[in-house]
């Protein structure tokens, strides 16, 4: 480690606070305030990773979130390890452990580096072209390709950290706390706007906060001093909230933005416990001011990717902000004045600059004269044609550019260096603006895309709006914010600026070399190893759209989304294709701007909070009695109750038999319940159900079938008339919300003249169904006051009653075909009434049964389950339920569709019963049904929808849909399975008690 790399003159570094960290198993030291990148550079380390495709050594290139190369694996434990972290964004803390990615066995010696030598045979589209044939080999290729692809390692166990989401509503959101962002926030907050200012860095002020140059002054003060006073002032403002370490990830329509706030990542590990690590801010802003600044462009030349080649602005930031010199023998390579600012920062600290290579023939700015005065050789009109040094740059060669900039002329000169700062001008960071739907325009003078049409109440200011000079930035910020916020007082009197920079630039997208393009590696996308050569190849092969070139060459498809090189890719495409830059547009910038952790995205919605689930009031009893649960919609329903060592089949057989032999009890609380009231309630039911409702007497129940307007079965359930204008409708468990929505839709939009009101009361009642030959004896014990005689309380009727003085509704309805009662009681009494029923049924072997047994029992009776036996392609006629479709009613939902040419076809799939030749053989639900297996291709007639072994019938039963099945009674069909063909006979879907005697059996 060479000590003279650190100049302890920065106020951003706390040199009294030494921090130790590990990189690639070696311990280093940095200071509080360092990023991992600045601390590594201070230790003389440039080489931090290997590139994705060629495994070329790569170093730290930038100082911010645009970093393409220095992406590392953070943490070494299996739960917190995080891949693809940008070393330039990680603030160091005591105990930090990081390592290089994409290299084996080590970053210094990487086996994969062989790809670099093989690169002539690894052009763009190599994988597409090579592994296409033969198609059947793909599975074999895939294994090896997947093994060698991908960056970093994902954690193996659950993330132990805490994340959360937070909503923020503000009048004005300012994104970016550079000089224009600070000014905008002050103007907004001081004029009464509730303002939020966010910045991704750990400090405010952007790049101006370390601008100590005599060449940029505001009101005769050094820029950084002026800005510090401004920051000091705004930090005291009451209606301004400032969030640092907060990166806006997405800018959606209607000024809805997502931002990630980093709360603990910079703290020593032992100070993070029980603290929220990251917070996803969901921001809804009335007005948005985007001040995201700009990103310095690299230059595209042969071998422009070696460790030690960095953006010139990054070199300046490292020395000014962190007090770190990136090299001891520096060369700057530029096409504009930015590099001269870097040069001045280095000169001030006495750091050696060997030369400046400038593409421009003429340079006319105060700052360049000042640099020249310091005896620094400037090569005007020159370009770098090659670089040398494997793990770190050690030499460059330069040549003179031709007049048109397309070729190089003259002799080659070699210059030594250990760090090369490049500057290709600036690219406005318009990513968020375009995410919001904004349209860009291309500015020819300096070849940049800038905001043009705003889709919402927002504005872009500062260099993200294409203002690069200090004077322009301040002047335009003041005037546009005044207009944007419609304020009289700008809070700034006069702001005078001095800048020694000139905005001249000589833009050449692809710098020429003395080698032919085929022999060069001029990287455009550093992370994905896409070169200028690849882009040209794509164009030669016929790709024209920028989106296609992007995908073919993978330019801009890395985790950095090509923040550095996308503009060059566009430039090279338009130059090669001979088109204008603005015509191509840009590739789509997609959220997130920088990668988000999964933890941030899901927030607190992990584990049992991952999804909502609903429990019935009797849930705890089911748990206590060993129930297995099944998810039905959002509900947790008891599935079956295994006893001793029973498996599911054994439990269901026992439960099913008990329900028919003596008594069963089911928690039916999940059934949807809709309370329907109003003078037109009967008429309403007439219109929504297929059968007639006007004549249903008070106190009676009726089964109803509901269709979609296309005639297909939508839902079913029993509805009870509680009073003259009062009904309670039950729906399927899963369909409850949709049925209510559909009914509301018709009421509000088609039939607003009807006097009907709907309320969901699903959660208000617990529903307990007691069935079986002994159900009457049990219910009479639970509700002793009620006369249960068939005369007073026949099947399909309802009574109000009381249990222990609590009002309840009792319906005598049945989904099993057994004599049964449904007790509906206020939900919070559900469990105690259930327990009462269990107690009352003790002598009758009352058996709790779950959804599986319920399904089996109803299948014995041929009752359909909407959604299992139906799939939105079946009409009631297809289900052989013609009896429920009223012929007399003029209209109901779906009626007209029942005689469309398609719905009256005889060969539609129709519901039938299926009996297997071998009564012990149980069919698989979903199995295909065919008639002729010799025919090729075999015609599929339908499929099995429900299948069980019935312990009551002592044989296998099934329901299925079969083309023209209605007329196939007794016919033999085949269910072809993997190893055998199963013979079945089409049967009546009602397998048990066709006459319904069990319902009214004298008990």
């Amino acid at each position: 480690m060479s000590n003279n790399l650190r100049f302890k003159t920065s106020k951003f570094i706390d040199e009294t606070y030494r921090v130790s960290f590990k990189f690639n198993n070696k311990t280093y030291f940095g200071f509080k305030g360092d990023t991992l990148a600045s601390a590594l550079l201070a230790n003389g380390i440039h080489l931090v990773g290997r590139s994705f495709k060629y495994h070329r050594p790569r170093g730290i290139m930038t100082s911010g979130s645009e970093e393409p190369n220095a992406i590392i694996q953070l943490h070494d434990n299996s739960s917190r390890t995080e891949p693809n972290v940008r070393a330039t964004e990680v603030e160091i803390y005591e105990g930090l452990v990081a390592s290089s990615q994409n290299c084996w066995p080590s970053v210094n010696f990487d086996i994969g580096g062989i790809n670099n030598l093989l690169s002539p045979i690894l052009p763009a589209g190599f994988y597409y072209k090579t592994f296409m044939w033969p198609a059947s080999f793909w599975e074999k290729y895939e294994y090896f390709i997947r093994k060698s692809a991908g960056l970093g390692k994902s954690p193996k166990v659950a993330d132990p950290d805490i994340y959360e989401h937070k909503y923020i509503h503000c009048d004005v959101l300012v994104i970016g706390a550079g000089i224009s962002g600070i000014m905008a926030a002050k103007m907004a907050a001081k004029n009464g706007f509730k303002t939020l200012l966010v910045d991704e860095k750990s400090y405010l002020g952007g790049s101006s906060i370390y601008d100590n140059s005599e060449f940029s002054k505001i009101n005769n003060q050094i820029t950084s001093s002026w800005l510090e006073k401004e920051i000091n002032e705004i930090s005291k403002l009451e209606n301004l909230e400032i969030k640092i370490r907060t990166s806006v990830a997405a800018f959606h329509g209607y000024n809805f933005l997502l931002a990630r706030e980093n709360l603990t990542d910079h703290l020593p590990i032992n100070q993070r416990e029980n603290k929220v690590r990251q917070r996803l801010l969901k921001i809804r802003a009335k007005k948005v001011i985007t001040a995201t600044g700009s990103i310095e462009r690299p230059l595209i030349f042969h071998n422009n990717d070696r460790p030690g080649i960095m953006l010139s602005s990054a070199i300046k930031r490292y020395i000014d902000l962190y007090g770190v010199a990136c090299g001891e023998n520096n060369i700057l390579f530029t096409n504009n004045d930015t590099a001269y600012e870097t040069a001045m920062s280095l000169i001030q600290r006495g750091i050696k600059i060997n030369a400046i290579i400038d593409n421009r023939e003429q340079i006319d700015s105060k700052i360049s004269y000042e640099v020249e005065k310091n005896n620094i050789k400037i090569y005007k009109g020159y370009t770098v044609v090659d670089t040398y040094g494997y793990r770190r740059i050690n030499k460059i060669s330069i040549m003179k550019l031709s007049k048109d900039g397309q070729t190089v002329i003259g002799d080659k000169t070699k210059l030594n260096c250990d760090c090369l700062g490049v500057s290709g001008g600036w690219t406005p960071a318009v990513h968020l603006f375009t995410q919001s739907g904004g349209k860009l325009k291309f500015r020819e003078e300096d070849q940049v895309f800038i905001p043009n049409v705003y889709p919402s109440d927002q504005i872009s200011i500062g260099s993200c709006n294409g203002d690069f000079g200090l004077e322009e930035i301040i002047k335009n910020t003041l005037s546009s914010i005044k207009k944007f916020l419609d304020i009289d007082n700008s809070e700034y009197k006069t702001v005078e600026t001095i800048s020694g920079l000139n905005q001249s630039k000589r833009n050449i997208w692809l710098l020429p070399s003395d080698k032919s393009i085929g022999k060069t590696k001029s990287f455009v996308d550093y992370q994905n190893d896409a070169t200028a050569k690849d882009i040209k190849l794509a164009l030669r092969e016929g790709f024209r759209s920028i989106e296609h070139v992007k995908r073919y060459t993978t330019t801009g498809m890395g985790t950095d989304q090509g923040k550095l090189g996308n503009m060059h890719a566009l430039g090279i495409i338009s130059e090669t294709a001979g088109t204008k830059m603005g015509e191509h547009g840009t590739t789509t910038f997609r959220p997130p701007y920088t990668p988000l952790t999964f933890g941030t995205i899901v927030g607190r919605n992990v584990g049992e909070f991952f999804d909502i689930f609903r429990r019935t009031p009797i849930h705890d009893w089911h748990v206590a009695n060993n129930a297995e649960f099944e998810n039905v919609g959002q509900w947790k329903r008891a599935w079956y109750y295994p006893k001793d060592n029973e498996n599911m089949h054994q439990a269901v057989q026992r439960e099913s038999k008990a329900a028919r032999d003596s008594a069963g009890i089911l928690d039916a609380s999940t059934l949807g319940k809709i309370d329907i009231q109003g003078t037109d309630a009967s008429e309403f039911l007439n219109r929504v159900y297929t059968n007639a409702w006007s004549k249903l007497a008070i106190g009676k129940c009726r089964y109803g079938l509901m269709l979609n307007e296309d005639g297909m079965v939508y839902d079913d359930g029993v509805t009870t008339r509680l009073g003259e204008n009062h009904y309670i409708m039950t729906t399927t468990t899963g369909g409850a919300a949709n049925v209510l929505g559909k009914l509301e839709d018709y009421l509000q939009t088609e039939w607003p003249e009807l006097d009907v009101y709907l309320s969901s009361v699903t959660d208000h009642f617990a529903t307990i169904s007691v069935c079986g030959p002994n159900s009457k004896k049990i219910v009479s014990k639970v509700v002793p006051d009620l006369d249960l005689s068939d005369e007073k309380f026949p099947h399909m009727s309802f009574k109000n009653s009381k249990i222990d003085n609590i009002k309840c509704r009792i319906m005598r309805i049945s989904f099993t075909g057994e004599h049964s009662y449904e007790i509906n009681i206020q939900a919070n009494f559900g469990k105690s009434v259930w327990e009462k029923c269990m107690e009352a049924g003790k002598d009758f072997n009352i058996t709790p049964y779950g959804t599986e047994t319920m399904h089996l029992l109803r299948a014995e009776k041929g009752f359909i389950i909407v959604g299992q036996d139906t799939d939105a392609t079946l009409t009631p006629i297809d289900l052989q339920m013609d009896w429920i479709v009223s012929k007399k009613k003029y209209d109901f939902i779906g009626k007209r569709s029942l005689y469309r040419s398609d719905t009256i076809r005889e060969d539609r799939k129709q519901l039938v019963g299926l009996l297997t030749e071998n009564p012990e053989e149980v069919l698989e639900e979903g199995a295909q049904i065919v008639a002729d297996i010799k025919k090729s291709p075999i015609e599929m007639l339908g499929h099995v929808t429900s299948s069980y072994y019935s312990p009551n019938l002592k044989k296998s039963i099934a329901l299925g849909v079969v083309k023209g099945g209605k007329n196939m009674l007794g016919q033999k069909l085949i269910i072809p399975m993997e190893n055998k063909n199963i013979n079945v006979t089409v049967a009546d879907p009602v397998f048990l008690d066709k006459e319904g005697e069990r319902l009214n059996a004298k008990l």
Binding site: Y254, R284, P455, E709, G741, Q748, Y890, D891, R896
Partner: protein, 91 residues
């Protein structure tokens, strides 16, 4: 994510709403009088416009009311919201 001005509740997040397809399609009063083609026209045919479109929306996680919206599908700008049965305030 849209900010939708429910005509009954005021501005709310889009996540509280459900889109309900094209607006101003009236269910025929006498479906039995219609030919298969006429009924199919009502049942199946919907416009999918790039530009200004009239839509039904339901404040499903709010007041449960249905209402109409005029939206430009090319840029998602909501031009107007109005109650069921009302005439569109913009063309």
């Amino acid at each position: 994510m849209f900010l939708i001005n429910c005509p009954f509740c005021g501005e709310r997040e889009q996540s509280e709403f459900k889109a309900g397809g094209e607006a101003h399609i009236v269910r025929p009063k006498q479906p039995t009088e219609l030919s298969d083609d006429e009924w199919a026209e009502y049942l199946f045919m919907r416009k999918n416009i790039k530009g200004v479109q009239f839509e039904r929306w339901n404040h499903v996680h709010g007041c449960r009311k249905w209402f109409n919206m005029v939206r430009d599908t090319s840029n998602d700008q909501i031009k107007a919201v109005y109650k069921m049965g009302e005439k569109p305030p913009v063309k």
